[in-house]
């Protein structure tokens, strides 16, 4: 599903974010990417989304070489197959829960009957079936992250990328969010999660990829944080 082959990324300011990293992730896997700040976790996710291009090496997502995609059609199509969740939720404050999720379908041109069918369904799935008409500032942090997960999953992506999804949440809420991500993973979505959260990584016992200063230093199935 995801393949990084000898990927090096040097930013324009001369910082080497990744150095000769190769990773293979199969369909349906749940993978933690761990490491200190500046180790290259976020760069890895940005490469998969084709927000950055590798300086050298190849990146494949869902069988496509993302470096070769065109900005006109290829990149948007790639991103429709990838859901994204962030530490800061990135919800639109002037839209309701329903509108935040339906926005993701609307802007890729999905017809109204699809939107009206899928949005309540996915919000029910993440446990917010009762809060369709609330605004983000009326929700707790955990609920907001659920909305953002619903938005990421409403178009049924093949891959879910999560960048520190529990970074702003207390431990109990974090556990709830991890349960939800696990549930999303169980229905076949490949999940790649960058995190600092040692407790969560240790509790989940999933595959762990550890980066340090841009180098892959550990790739362990059913691993722990360190």
């Amino acid at each position: 599903m995801i393949s990084l082959q000898n990927v090096t990324k040097v930013y324009r300011n001369g910082v080497t974010a990744l150095e000769d990293v190769s990773i293979e992730i199969e369909k349906g896997e749940f993978v933690f990417v761990v490491g200190p700040s500046g180790s290259g976790k976020s760069t890895t996710l940005r490469l998969l989304l084709r927000e950055e291009e590798p300086t050298s090496g190849q990146v494949y997502v869902a069988g496509k070489n993302v470096v070769r995609l065109s900005t006109l059609g290829g990149i948007p199509k790639l991103r429709r197959n990838i859901g994204c969740v962030f530490q800061d939720f990135k919800l639109l404050q002037d839209k309701t829960v329903f509108e935040n999720v339906s926005f993701a379908l609307e802007v890729i041109g999905k017809p109204k009957h699809v939107i009206d069918g899928r949005v309540p369904e996915i919000l029910d799935y993440v446990g917010l079936g009762e809060k369709l008409n609330n605004y983000p500032d009326e929700l707790s942090g955990g609920e907001q992250q659920r909305v953002s997960i619903a938005r990421a999953c409403v178009n049924r992506p093949l891959v879910l990328l999560a960048d520190e999804p529990t970074g702003n949440l207390d431990p109990n809420t974090s556990v709830d969010i991890m349960r939800l991500l696990d549930k999303v993973n169980k229905i076949g979505t490949t999940v790649v999660m960058a995190t600092h959260d040692q407790a969560i990584v240790d509790a989940m016992r999933k595959r762990v990829i550890e980066l340090d200063r841009g180098k892959l230093i550990r790739d362990q199935s059913r691993g722990v944080y360190s």
Binding site: P76, A104, E106, V107
Partner: protein, 302 residues
Amino acid sequence: MRRIEFYFRETAAGIRRNGIMAFAAISTAFIALFLFGLALLIAREISLVIEQVTGNVEVAVYLSDPVKPEILGQLQQRLQELPAVDSVTYEDKAAACQRARELFKSNPAIIENVSCDVYPASLRITLKDTSQYEQIPAALSCTTGADGKVSCQEPGVLEVRDYRDILDRLSAITRVLRNGVLAVALIMLGSATVLIANTLRMGMFARRKEIGIMRLVGATNWRIRVPFLIEGLVEALVGAGLAIVTLFLGKVFLVDQLRTQVLWIPLIRNSDVLAIAPLILVAAGGVAIVAGTIGIRRFLDV
């Protein structure tokens, strides 16, 4: 349908959120397009005056009474053969009288007291090349008298009158007026373009979070940009609409007031205002296209 609805909803939201900037952009577009239309109407008005005064004729060869058909035919042919001459038309006494009465419509005293008989028939000539005027008096063996009057030996010819001077002066005035107003209009169109571009850019900045999410979930570039392009077009077209309405009202309340007071000058009509409306709309479209291209350039990357 759904897509169009989406575009218009986003556009309306954008204009509402960006109210003051949109207002500034619309007013500048309005002023620019108003001046643009004004320049066109001034040009039209002056050309109406020129047409009325001279009938666009550059040289008139007045004929002595009575006009003999064989001499007329001969003269017409000879003038037509001159390389400088573009066209020769014959105006008989009745037509000359008719034209004079039209000209003095507002002054019934002149019409009543002057008999139609005094207006001479003439051959009215337009020139291919106005600098070659001398060919005409030369061909008719005319001489310029001390009083500036051109009298001629040619049988049947009374006088040759040169209107080039008046025409030149009138068209010089037209040029200066029209070009002056057009220059101001162009500068204003430039500012309108910059303002609209800026409005679009501020709109994009205000909605950078939405745009970021749109990119993330795989919206295409055009899906993101089209609402902004429509916003620019709407602003330019609203300005154009206001400009057309204002020109029309100006025509009704200012020009039509004059109509009862200065009868001897032909004034622009509703149809003239109507004729420049498409040009104003085209200019507005041009402004919107340029503004859109400048405004969204920074957001070209996915």
